[in-house]
C-alpha cells in the first residue's frame, strides 16, 4: 500500500500491516502498529458485520455493513429485514462510497469573500446561533425526509429556536397517490403494493423495478409471482403501459406504447372491459358503474393511440385475472392530472378487488411529509425577502428544482444560507455556512418504511473527518442559543435521542437484528361515495413542438443524488448501456424525420422553459412522438458528477433536464413532470458516446436464449435440442460423486449431434480428489437487469473505475456485465462503428433476454492454453485461476476468450483512479491489480477461501449456501445461484438441472462453462 496512505490509515485504525498494494510492487508498510486498546470484537484480518439501514431512498432496506479493522468495506443486504431480505440494489451498494468520498467537507466551512474557508465547530455554531437569534421566525428549514425520530425532534427544534418553520422537500414524493387514496378511501397514505401473489400485473409506467417506491422488494415479489417452477400457467403476466420501453418494461410480456397522459383513461377503459367480461367484485361493479358509463372505449383507444383490440384483449384478461395488481404512474408520467390518474388506477384496483389483496392501504404516517407546494410557497417567501436564515439539509434544491421556480434568484435574496450537506453540491456551494453532516455509515438514526417496520441506523465507521450528525449540530445550536432554548429540546445527543425513541424495545437486540419488524396489516377501507365521480381527461401539455418531453428518473442516478458516486456513473444504463453522459432517446422514425439522425448525433431540445443540447440514442423502445431524457446528470459540482473527469472543472457532466421543465403542479399541488412539448432540432454535431454494449443484436448466436411457454409445458425445447439436460450443469443428474465418470457419458451423448465436438474429459474440470466444482446458474427469466450485482462486484473485488474517456475507448473494467439482447437477432448491422439497437425492440410483445456475463470458469478454457507463463490455469476446485503477480501482459488469454470477460489494466488505474481516502474501502482480501496485468472474475475466490478455512478446521466440506459470491448475494430475485456442482443436492445443481431451459453460452465452442444460464420464458401476449 503506497506510502502516502499509511499515516491517515493508521490515524483511522490501528491495524496489523497489509492493505491494498498493487501487484508486482510491495512498498513495505515497514511499521507494525498495534491497537493501544484492542476492541474486544475486532480481530485484525477477520470481518465484523453490523446491521444498519440504507439511507439512499425511502424504501429503507436493511443493511449488513461488512467491516474490517474498523472500517466498512462493503454493504450487504440484511437477510432478516422484511423489505429487502438480504438483497441490495445498485444504489445501496454504491452508497458506501459516500463515506470515503474525496469530495467530502472535512471541517465546517464559512464563506469568506466568494469562497468557503475551513473554520471550527465552535465558531460555526456561534455564528449560526447568532444569525438565528437575529432572524427569529424569519429562519426556515428546507430539507429531505429524515427518519421519524430525527424528523419529530427537528420539528421540536424549529419551534424551540423560534424559527418560521420547516419544509420537507423530496423531488420524487408520491403526493398525487396519497391525494388519490385520501379521496377514494379517506386515508391519506401511499398504498403498498405486493406483487408476489398477483397473476396479472399492469404497470401504468411506475417503473417499479428501477425508480419505484421500493425496487428491491418489488423485484423480489415480481420474481416470486412469475416463478416458473412454483406458479402454474407460467406465473403472473405483466403488461407495461407507457411511452418508453424502460428497464422495467423490458421485463414485461407485453408493452402498450400508449400516449403519455392517457393512463387514467386507459385504466378506466380496461376496467370497463374487465367488468364487462364479468371481472371485479360485486361491490366494485356497482361502485364504478356510474363513472364507467361515461367512458367510451373506442374514443379512449383513439386518444391513447392504442388499438381497440388490445384494450379489449387486456381488459378481458384483467376481468379473468384472480388477483390482478394495477400500479399507478410513477414520476415519469406524473402529469398535471396525476392525482386523477392515480385515482382512476386505484379505483380500478378497488373495483377488481385488489385492495386488501395485492394492494393494501397502510395507516397514515405521522410526522412531516414532503410537500411541493409548501416548497414553492417557501420560494416565494424567499423572493419577497421574508426569509432571513435558510438551513438546507438532505436535499439539493438548486439542482432539482426547475429554474423556472426562480429558486436560484430567491436564494440570492436570503441573507444567510446554511448547508448541512456532507458533500459539496450545487446548493451547498451557495451557502454562507456549511456544517458538514455525517454520512449514514458514521451516524445514528432510524427509519420506518411502513407502519410496524422500524429499522435502525448505527454508526459503523469512526467519523473520518471533523463532521457532526445533523441532530447533534442543531442541538449544539440550541445550546448555544441559551439554556432556555436547549431545555425545549431535552436530549444530550442524537444517540441518546434514538435510544429514547426506541425505549420499550430491547435496543441491543434491535441493533443486532437491524430493527423491529412487525409489519402491521393495511387498514380496512371502504370507498368514499363521492369519490367515483371525477373528471378524467387528458392532461394539457405546455408549449408546442412535435415531441412530448418524457423525463424519467435515472435508473441508477435516481434524482441525481447518485451522480457523484463513481460506480453508479460507470455502471451502464440498464437499457442503452451508456455510462457517464446524458442522452435523449428517440425512435428510428422520429430520427428519420429529423434528417436521418444516428446514434450519437447531437440535437437541441427546446421548450418554453429553455433549451439544451445532447446526443441522441435511436432505438425502437420509444414512441415516435416522445423524446425521453433521464434525470440525474448535469451537475456542475462534484468530482464524478460534474465534467471534471473529462478535464473541465466546474463544467456540467451531461445535461440537467429539469432545467427545461416548467414549475407546475398537479391538482393536488404535488410536483408534475410530464409537462411540456419540445421542439427537437438537429445540430449537425456528432459525439462518440461511452457505451458498454456494442450491439444488442445477438445475430442468432447462443448467448441469450428464450423458450416459448408452450414448449416449456410440452417439455421439449430448442434450447435442449442440441444439448442434454444432464449437461446443463456439468455433473448434474449423475449419481455417485464419481464426477469424472460422468463427463464422457453424459457429455458425449449430449453432444452426439455435433460430430465436431468430442466428448470432453470432465475429470479435468476439477482435481479428482477435490470435493468441489464451483458453479453458477443464472436465470434470465428472473434477472431484471437492475445491475445490483455489477456494483456489488465492483466493490467486493476492488475493481477500478476508469472514467468517461476510458469507457469511450472501450476499457470498461467490470468483471460482470449485463448483456441485453433483443430477441434472437438477425444478421444485419456491424458494417459501421455505430452500436446496434434492433428494430424488434419496438414490437409490442416484448422479447428482451437479459444475460449477465461473467467469467464462465470453463472446464476446457481457451484462455488457459495460450498463456505462456501459466498465469491463468485450472484450479483444483474447477475455478479458472488468474494469478495477477505471474501475469506479464501478453493479453493472449483475452483474445482467446470467446466471452470477452477478461479485463486488462491499460494504466495503473489502481494508482490513478483511487483518490484518497477511497483506498480505505478497498477489500484487503483482494489484491489490487497494477498496470499491465490481466484480471477477471474468479467467483469471489477470496470468499471461498475464507469459507474453506472454517470448513477445514471442522474438517468437513463447505456446506451448500455457506459461501456465495457478491453478485448472487446482492440479487433481489435470486436469479443467480452459486454453489458446488459436485454436491448433487446443492441449490445450484438443482437449478442448473432444469431440464428444458438450461444452456451454456456459446456452447458449440465446447468450453464446458461452469455457468449455466436458464432461458427466458416467452409468455406471449396476455389473453382473456
Amino acid at each position: 500500500m503506497p506510502e502516502i496512505h499509511r499515516r491517515e490509515f493508521l490515524k483511522l485504525v490501528g491495524a496489523s500491516a497489509g492493505a491494498a498494494a498493487t501487484v508486482g510492487c510491495s512498498d513495505p508498510v515497514s511499521k507494525l502498529i498495534p491497537y493501544v486498546i484492542q476492541p474486544e470484537v475486532i480481530v485484525p484480518g477477520i470481518a465484523n458485520y453490523y446491521a444498519s439501514t440504507c439511507q439512499e431512498c425511502s424504501a429503507a432496506c436493511g443493511l449488513l455493513v461488512k467491516t474490517r479493522e474498523g472500517r466498512p468495506i462493503k454493504l450487504e443486504g440484511n437477510p432478516e429485514h422484511p423489505i429487502n431480505q438480504g438483497a441490495l440494489c445498485a444504489r445501496g451498494q454504491a452508497s458506501i462510497g459516500r463515506s470515503y468520498h474525496p469530495d467530502r467537507y472535512k471541517t465546517p466551512m464559512k464563506r469568506v469573500g466568494d469562497k468557503l474557508e475551513p473554520t471550527t465547530w465552535d465558531d460555526a455554531i456561534a455564528i449560526l446561533s447568532g444569525e438565528i437569534k437575529r432572524a427569529g421566525n424569519r429562519t426556515w428549514m428546507l430539507g429531505g425526509q429524515t427518519g421519524p425520530t430525527a424528523s419529530a425532534w427537528i420539528d421540536k427544534w424549529v419551534e424551540a429556536v423560534g424559527a418560521g418553520g420547516r419544509v420537507v422537500y423530496e423531488p420524487f414524493a408520491p403526493e398525487a397517490l396519497r391525494e388519490a387514496t385520501q379521496a377514494l378511501f379517506g386515508v391519506a397514505s401511499e398504498p403498498v403494493f405486493d406483487l408476489s401473489g398477483s397473476d396479472l400485473i399492469i404497470d401504468f409506467g411506475s417503473d417499479f423495478l428501477e425508480s419505484g417506491p421500493s425496487p428491491t422488494e418489488h423485484a423480489r415479489q415480481f420474481a416470486e409471482a412469475r416463478d416458473i417452477a412454483k406458479r402454474e400457467r407460467g406465473g403472473a403476466r405483466f403488461v407495461y403501459i407507457g411511452p418508453r420501453l424502460s428497464m422495467t418494461a423490458s421485463n414485461a410480456d407485453e408493452w402498450v406504447a400508449a400516449k403519455p397522459g392517457s393512463e387514467g383513461l386507459l385504466a378506466l377503459a380496461l376496467l370497463k372491459v374487465a367488468i364487462g367480461a364479468g371481472g371485479g367484485t360485486q361491490a366494485g361493479r356497482d361502485g364504478v358503474a356510474a363513472p364507467l358509463a361515461k367512458i367510451d372505449i373506442a374514443a379512449v383507444a383513439k386518444q391513447a393511440d392504442v388499438p381497440l383490440a388490445t384494450i379489449e384483449r387486456i381488459g378481458k384478461a384483467l376481468g379473468a385475472a384472480k388477483s390482478p395488481v394495477l400500479l399507478p404512474p410513477g414520476v415519469a408520467l406524473a402529469s398535471r392530472r396525476a392525482a386523477a390518474t392515480a385515482r382512476a388506477v386505484m379505483l380500478a384496483n378497488w373495483a377488481l378487488g385488489a385492495v386488501g389483496k395485492g394492494v393494501s392501504i397502510p395507516a397514515p404516517r405521522d410526522g412531516k411529509l414532503p410537500s411541493y407546494h409548501q416548497t414553492l410557497a417557501l420560494v416565494d417567501a424567499m423572493k419577497q425577502g421574508s426569509v432571513g436564515v435558510l438551513l438546507v439539509h438532505g436535499s439539493n434544491p438548486v439542482y432539482s428544482l426547475p429554474p423556472s421556480t426562480g429558486f436560484s434568484e430567491a436564494l440570492a435574496k436570503v441573507p444567510f444560507v446554511v448547508s448541512l450537506a456532507s458533500m459539496p453540491d450545487e446548493s451547498s456551494e451557495r451557502a454562507n455556512l456549511v456544517l458538514p453532516d455525517h454520512t449514514p455509515l458514521e451516524s445514528w438514526g432510524d427509519a420506518e418504511p411502513r407502519p410496524g417496520i422500524r429499522s435502525l441506523v448505527q454508526p459503523t465507521l469512526r467519523p473520518i473527518y471533523d463532521t457532526r450528525a445533523l441532530v447533534d449540530t442543531l442541538l449544539d445550536v440550541a445550546r448555544a442559543m441559551g439554556a432556555d432554548v436547549a431545555a425545549k429540546v431535552p436530549t444530550d445527543s442524537f444517540r441518546a435521542l434514538v435510544e429514547q425513541a426506541w425505549a420499550g424495545t430491547d435496543f441491543h437486540a434491535a441493533l443486532a437484528k437491524g430493527g423491529v419488524f412487525a409489519a402491521q396489516p393495511g387498514v380496512e377501507v371502504t370507498l368514499v361515495g363521492s369519490a367515483v365521480d371525477f373528471e378524467m381527461a387528458e392532461p394539457a401539455l405546455e408549449g408546442d413542438g412535435d415531441f412530448t418531453l418524457l423525463t424519467s428518473p435515472g435508473a441508477l442516478l435516481y434524482d441525481g443524488r447518485g451522480a457523484n458516486l463513481a460506480w453508479l456513473q460507470e455502471t451502464p444504463d440498464p437499457v442503452t448501456k451508456i455510462t457517464w453522459v446524458s442522452f435523449a432517446e428517440i425512435s428510428p422514425r422520429a430520427a428519420e424525420k429529423l434528417g436521418g439522425l444516428v446514434f450519437g448525433d447531437v440535437v437541441e431540445v427546446e421548450t418554453k422553459a429553455g433549451k439544451l443540447s445532447l446526443p441522441v440514442v435511436v432505438r425502437g423502445g420509444v414512441r415516435d412522438d416522445v423524446i425521453a431524457i433521464a434525470i440525474g446528470q448535469g451537475h456542475t459540482v462534484g468530482l464524478w458528477s460534474s465534467g471534471t473527469d473529462s478535464g473541465h472543472p466546474g463544467e456540467a457532466r451531461g445535461v440537467n433536464v429539469i432545467d427545461v421543465l416548467p414549475a407546475l403542479t398537479d391538482e393536488s399541488g404535488g410536483r408534475a413532470w410530464l409537462l411540456t412539448k419540445a421542439k427537437v432540432t438537429n445540430t449537425g454535431r456528432h459525439e462518440k458516446l461511452p457505451i458498454c454494449q456494442d450491439s444488442q443484436n445477438q445475430r442468432g448466436r447462443r448467448l441469450g436464449l428464450a423458450v416459448p411457454l408452450a414448449e416449456l409445458a410440452a417439455g421439449d425445447a430448442h434450447v435442449e435440442a442440441e444439448h442434454g439436460a444432464a449437461d446443463a450443469v456439468p455433473g448434474a443428474g449423475e449419481s455417485a460423486p464419481g464426477y469424472p465418470a460422468h463427463g464422457e457419458a453424459a457429455h458425449g451423448e449430449a453432444h452426439g449431434s455435433h460430430e465436431m465436438i468430442k466428448a470432453f474429459d470432465a475429470s479435468m474440470d476439477r482435481a479428482p480428489d477435490s470435493p468441489y466444482r464451483w458453479g453458477m446458474t443464472i436465470d434470465s427469466d428472473k434477472c431484471t437487469g437492475c445491475s445490483a450485482c455489477v456494483v456489488a462486484c465492483y466493490i467486493e473485488n476492488n475493481i477500478s473505475i476508469v472514467g468517461e474517456e476510458q469507457v469511450r475507448r472501450g476499457r470498461h473494467m467490470a468483471w460482470l456485465r449485463i448483456e441485453r439482447w433483443v430477441g434472437d437477432g438477425n444478421l444485419e448491422g456491424g458494417q459501421d462503428r455505430l452500436p446496434i439497437f434492433p428494430d424488434a425492440e419496438s414490437s409490442s410483445t416484448v422479447d428482451i433476454r437479459i444475460a449477465p456475463m461473467l467469467c464462465q470458469q470453463c472446464g476446457a478454457a481457451p484462455c488457459e492454453a495460450v498463456c505462456p507463463v501459466i498465469a491463468t490455469y485450472h484450479a483444483d476446485d474447477g475455478l479458472n485461476g488468474m494469478i495477477y503477480n505471474r501475469c506479464i501482459g501478453t493479453r493472449y488469454c483475452a483474445n482467446n476468450c470467446p466471452y470477452k470477460v477478461r479485463k486488462y489494466n491499460w494504466f495503473d488505474f489502481a494508482l490513478e483512479r483511487w483518490p484518497d481516502p477511497m483506498y480505505l474501502m478497498a477489500n484487503p482480501d483482494v489484491t489490487v491489480r497494477g498496470q499491465g496485468v490481466m484480471e477477471k472474475c474468479t467467483f469471489c475466490v477470496q470468499r471461498v477461501a475464507s469459507a474453506r478455512q472454517i470448513a477445514k478446521n471442522e474438517n468437513r466440506v463447505i456446506r451448500d449456501g455457506e459461501v456465495t459470491t457478491a453478485c448472487a448475494q446482492s440479487c433481489p430475485t435470486h436469479a443467480i445461484q452459486f454453489g458446488n456442482l459436485v454436491d448433487k443436492t446443492s441449490a445450484v445443481a438443482k437449478a442448473g438441472s432444469e431440464p428444458v431451459r438450461g444452456y451454456h453460452s456459446l456452447e458449440e465452442l465446447n468450453t464446458r462453462p461452469a455457468v449455466t444460464l436458464l432461458a427466458k420464458v416467452q409468455r406471449g401476449t396476455v389473453e382473456g
Binding site: D27, P102, D645
Partner: protein
C-alpha cells in the same frame, strides 16, 4: 488531487510519480533488504566473535526513585541491554523488548500476546493495553517498561519495526498454519532465544541446485510439498 494528465480524479502527476518511484524502488529494495540483512548478520557474527565477553556490568542499578513493584532480575536487565544493542542482527525496536526473556525465560505462550493468530489470517500484535496488563504490576524499574508506560500514558500505539513481511499478493493465513500444527519457529526461527528479533536465514536447494531463501515462494512451496499441503496457486494468490 489537483491537475493532472487528462482526467482530474487521479492523483496529481508529481504524487503519481512519487508513488510510482516508490514502487520501483520497492522492487529493488526487496532484494537489497536481503543483501543488507546478510551483511548485518555477517558483521554481527564477526563483531560478536571479535569481542569475546560483552560487558554486562553496565546494567544500571535501580534508579533512586524506584517505581512501585519489585526490582527486576539481573536476567531482565541483561536481556534489555542485549535487545537494545544495535550491533546484533535485527533492527532496534522502539522498546528493547526481549522475546528471549518473555517467551524463553518466562515461558509465556506466543498466543498469549499474539492473540487471534489462531483465528485470523493476520497475526495479532499485542495492544499496549495488553502489555500494561502485566507491566502495571512489575518491571516498572526498567527504562524499557518506562518507555512503554509513556506510550500508554499518551495513548499512542508502539511503532514496532516489522521484520517478516510478505507482498500483498501473497495471502498467507496464520490460523491455517497454527491449526495445522506448524509451530511458530518453523518460519520465525528460534524466537524464544532472541533478545532482539531478526529474520533467520533459511535456505532450501531445489534438485536443479538453485537456492530458495526464506520467505521466498520456493521456500513455502518446499514446505507445502513436504507436508502434502495444497499447491494450488489460488491458495495463496488472489
Amino acid at each position: 488531487m489537483g491537475p493532472s494528465i487528462g482526467g482530474r480524479f487521479r492523483v496529481s502527476p508529481n504524487e503519481f510519480m512519487f508513488r510510482k518511484a516508490s514502487h520501483l524502488l520497492a522492487r529493488v529494495r526487496r532484494r537489497a533488504v536481503e543483501v543488507v540483512l546478510a551483511a548485518v548478520i555477517a558483521a554481527g557474527l564477526v563483531f560478536g566473535l571479535a569481542t569475546p565477553e560483552r560487558v554486562d556490568a553496565q546494567a544500571p542499578a535501580a534508579p533512586a526513585a524506584a517505581p512501585a513493584g519489585p526490582r527486576s532480575s539481573q536476567k531482565a536487565y541483561d536481556a534489555q541491554t542485549a535487545a537494545s544493542d544495535p550491533s546484533t542482527p535485527g533492527p532496534v525496536q522502539p522498546i528493547p523488548f526481549s522475546h528471549a526473556l518473555h517467551a524463553g525465560e518466562y515461558k509465556i505462550e506466543c498466543l498469549y500476546c499474539h492473540t487471534g493468530t489462531d483465528k485470523s489470517r493476520a497475526a495479532g500484535v499485542p495492544s499496549v493495553e495488553l502489555c500494561m496488563g502485566c507491566h502495571t504490576h512489575f518491571g516498572g524499574d526498567m527504562e524499557g517498561v518506562q518507555t512503554l508506560k509513556k506510550y500508554w500514558d499518551e495513548q499512542l500505539p508502539v511503532p514496532w519495526n516489522q521484520i517478516y513481511r510478505l507482498p500483498e499478493h501473497v495471502k498467507f493465513r496464520h490460523n491455517r498454519h497454527v491449526s495445522a500444527g506448524v509451530d511458530c519457529q518453523r518460519c520465525h526461527g528460534p524466537i524464544e532465544t532472541m533478545d532482539k528479533v531478526y529474520m533467520t536465514k533459511d535456505t532450501i536447494w531445489w534438485p536443479w541446485l538453485l537456492p530458495s531463501t526464506k520467505p521466498e515462494m520456493g521456500w513455502c512451496i518446499n514446505c507445502h510439498r513436504e507436508n502434502q499441503a495444497s499447491q494450488d496457486c489460488l491458495t495463496c494468490h488472489y
